[in-house]
Amino acid sequence: MAVVLDVQNLYSGYNGSLVLKEISFQIRKGEFVSILGPNGSGKTTLVKAILGILQPRSSSVSINLGEDGLRKLSELTPKEIARRIAVVPQGLQFEFAFTVGEIVSMGRTPYLRRFQSETNEDIKAIEEAMAFTNTLYLRDRLVTELSGGERQRAIIAQALAQKPDILILDEPTTHLDISYQIEVMELLKKLNEEGVTIITVLHDLNLAAVYCERMILLKEGSVYVDGEVDEVLTGENIKEVFGVDVLIHSHPLTGKPYITSLSLISSALSSQKGNVHIICGSGTGSSLMHSLHEAGFMVTVGVLNVLDSDEVIAEKLGIKVVAEAPFSPISEKSFKNNLGLIDKAQVVVLADIPVGEGNFKNLVAAEKAVEKRKKVIILEKTPIETRDYMEGRAVKQIEKLYLKGALKAHSEEEVFKLINDLMEIENG
């Protein structure tokens, strides 16, 4: 796809103080890009610089004029720019009692000469913009009397009447309640599907993750990272740019990255429902960890090898782990520590781990748990026979556990349900 906006080595600011440094990126036709960053990182200044309203108009920003190819903003008149780029500014307030119809018509200013009255084409563009934003019914209402969501739609309609190739929005959802936020973002999505390139500054990382394909993360006036959502939204990036610890997991419904502040997580722990210890490894416990953790249980795991995929996730979630050095068998010390965690748990889950000489001690720990009258649930998505690398010793061990009162589950869901039931009995 063709490049519609090309920013090369942009420096910009106000009255000699530099806000943006060395900014370079290219936006292609039809992209849906969000610009993220903490307050003061230069997001709004970047929007102004792209629009060419910071003087002097930058020669570092070029826009695509179709047949003429890329042209520098500094070579274009304000009207030429306004026919390609429309903007929805942050928190625009109307002090004057224009009607919505009058406000939307103003979007045609870049096309009209001074005394020219609106042509059929102009009227068509205005009607379309109002229909698209569902503001036709507001036509004769005064903009000073609109609600927040209606006002935002009217401003978007004004911008759409410009028939832009690129729509730039500066925090379009700020000060709107959740339903209006979604309404606005859905509107942008629909516009994007019709071919309008969308660049939006957003505050809400999760909202950005749901709607945008690409993110540009700004830090102190420079591009810190620019790429697809998964590349940009990592714990390290967020920590580096925003200075907060977050947990990034994939949203159960959208599958998009979803960010939770770790301070929120620790506060959730104070309302814990009970302690669950999970014996797992090689990814067999990850989804259980997630769901139990989310559900508010105090989860512990062990014994895992450092860098085992379950271990990595446990670290991410801030779960307490008994960890052994990579690729080493479970030591006596780890075994004891593990028993310590099991002691504190009401329920112990044994995930369907492959069992060998190195981790056999985990099955012994499970046995100890049963003996200590802990509720032990054995997850057998795959039967133990297929995961026994000890010529039947593991199978025997599992059978022993069942004999001593361990419960069997065939899926994570079943485990989850059992735990909930057991805890209910426990808490009575």
Binding site: P78, A82, R83, E95, F96, A97, M106, G107
Partner: protein, 349 residues
């Protein structure tokens, strides 16, 4: 007063045109010699508009014709032009400044004109050159120079900040007012004259004054109308106007020049008439809303009518004594506006 949106814009404008026509004829017919309305209308149409074929041969007294043509018509028409110029100038400044307190004199036109006129009185005793009094010339020059000074004070590179403009207008204004007061100390014998001039008057104005004023109005008003769309966009804020492709710096420059020239020419011929340029736009906005196309057209017409009536009152209330028109506009205009303000439930600006 609720904003009358449903009021058909066209019929409102037609009403204002008829109103203006009526007050012009009415004002011209009233005076020491009372002339019938019908006669005044006929003389007006045939002699001023050149529509004499409509009425055939003159069927009216020659005295009437002389009184009207030599004294009353130029005076009334000058009031029309000055009223229109001040009102539209006020509309423009209020639009640029987005400030309801803005009026045609906001960036120094009045203080510059006052200093120029006072200088003419004191230093040259109002002598004329080429048959023209020096007073309007110096007043005009003073007004224009002051505007330029204020504008350049507020200018940084090619940009002019509206709030700096306002402040430098106030600063220069006070400075010039002090100079004017200082000059007055030396001009004790002219004090009364100066004072009357400062209050504004249409007394003893002739067609020459109309001729001086006319070009400014004939260029200035259409220009303002021309820029009405951009003025509307400017009301959304300078930045938004730039988003919509308006070259705001050029727009401000053009409009400030136009509005200042309109005000300066008005001040030169009639002195400093206060209140009209401030209040007429507000009154009109109550009915038309903020959209400048309607606002400029309606302010032109209503401002002109208002000025004609104010002038009529100034010369008839205490005839043969003339009350300076500045007193009339404020004395009658202000309470009327207060009444509108009180009845208006909404924010009017």
């Amino acid at each position: 007063m609720e904003r009358i949106r449903s009021f058909k814009d066209k019929s409102f404008i037609i009403f204002l045109i008829l109103l203006l026509g009526f007050v012009v004829i009415w004002a011209a017919s009233v005076g020491a010699v009372s002339i019938p309305l019908k006669t005044t209308a006929r003389i007006f149409l045939s002699r001023v508009f050149g529509l004499s074929f409509l009425f055939g041969k003159a069927s009216w007294s020659e005295t009437y014709e002389i009184i009207l043509l030599k004294i009353r018509f130029p005076r009334v028409i000058l009031a029309v032009l000055v009223g229109a110029a001040l009102s539209v100038s006020g509309v423009i400044f209020q639009g640029i400044f987005k400030n309801p307190m803005a009026d045609p004199y906001i960036i120094g036109v009045s203080s510059g004109a006052a200093l120029g006129a006072t200088l003419a009185f004191v230093a040259f005793s109002g002598f004329g050159v080429f048959g023209f009094s020096l007073i309007p010339i110096l007043a005009f020059v003073g007004a224009v120079l002051t505007t330029l000074l204020v504008y350049n004070l507020a200018r940084v590179g090619s940009r002019v900040s509206v709030s700096t403009l306002l402040l430098s207008g106030i600063a220069v204004g006070s400075f010039l007012a002090a100079l004017t007061a200082f000059l007055m100390i030396f001009g004790t014998k002219d004090l009364h004259q100066i004072f009357l001039w400062l209050m504004g008057s249409f007394s003893a104005k002739n067609w020459d004054h109309v001729k001086v004023m006319f070009p400014f109005v004939i260029f200035g008003l259409p220009l303002a109308f021309f820029y009405s769309r951009e003025l509307n966009v400017l009301l959304l804020g300078e930045e938004r106007a730039q988003h919509l492709g308006v070259d705001t710096e050029r727009l401000k420059r053009t409009l400030i020049i136009a509005a200042s020239l309109l005000a300066a020419s008005a001040v030169a011929v009639s002195g400093i008439i206060g209140f009209v340029g401030l209040i007429i736009p507000h009154m009109v906005r109550l009915i038309t809303g903020p959209s400048h196309k309607k606002l400029i057209l309606a302010s032109t017409l209503f401002g002109a009518s208002f000025m004609v009536v104010a002038d009529l009152l100034s010369r008839t209330l205490m005839a043969p004594l003339e009350i300076p028109i500045g007193i009339i506009t404020s004395l009658f205009g202000a309470p009327f506006f207060m009444y509108l303000l009180k009845r208006s439930k909404k924010k009017i600006f």
